[in-house]
């Protein structure tokens, strides 16, 4: 599989996906489920 970081837009998409994942993690850590 190609490394998404080799592509600029793959990098940006990974950043947005990571933001969503970390948002739900933060919300769970804060007791919001």
């Amino acid at each position: 599989m190609k490394n998404p970081l080799d592509s600029l837009w793959g990098t940006v998409i990974c950043g947005f996906v990571l933001t969503v994942v970390l948002f739900y993690l933060a919300r769970a850590m804060m007791g919001g489920g």
Partner: protein, 169 residues
């Protein structure tokens, strides 16, 4: 007065140095990487001036901008820094996550990007094989930082969002 220096001045300097750091990171990733590929494909190659005059200066402000950003972040956090990084209160979680992302990015700048850029630019001796590896490591570390900057900026600016009704269950 102390509060003004810690929070007013500290926040201003943190944002200013952060713009310097992330602005240059985005310059490298959104502009220079692609431009250098095209310059290398020219006949004769036309990227030498960028490598000689632009990259060392951009890297200077980039790596010290990173240090200044983190130093001013700790100035703002003051004696709460450890509490934030260890998530000791629920309210600290968003800024704590943003802080950890920033620290990982600072590590990447000084441990992965800058030492390898010195080899690529010929500031330290390196064989062609070592230079090729250095180029790949520096590139991936820079791309990793671009990726991490997206959630980092979200968590730096979103503390209020976590308390907004639209995000509550």
């Amino acid at each position: 007065m102390g509060d003004f220096i810690q929070h007013g001045l500290g926040r201003w300097l943190h944002i200013m140095s952060g713009v310097m750091w992330i602005g240059l990171l985005y310059y490298f990733n959104f502009v220079q990487v692609d431009a250098m590929k095209k310059a290398a494909a020219d006949t004769p190659p036309t990227g030498a001036g960028i490598t000689k005059h632009v990259v060392p200066r951009a890297l200077l402000f980039f790596r010290w901008g990173a240090v200044a950003t983190v130093v001013f972040a700790f100035m703002i956090l003051g004696d709460k820094a450890l509490d934030v990084l260890l998530f000791r209160e629920k309210a600290y979680v968003p800024i704590g996550i943003g802080g950890w992302l920033g620290l990982i990015m600072l590590f990447n700048v000084w441990v992965l990007i800058w030492p390898n850029q010195k080899k690529i630019l010929g500031m330290v001796p390196a064989t062609d094989e070592v230079k090729a590896t250095a180029r790949r490591v520096a590139f991936l570390a820079s791309r990793t930082n671009t990726m991490l900057s997206i959630p980092m900026l979200f968590f730096m600016s979103s503390s209020a969002l976590f308390h907004a009704p639209m995000f509550a269950r």
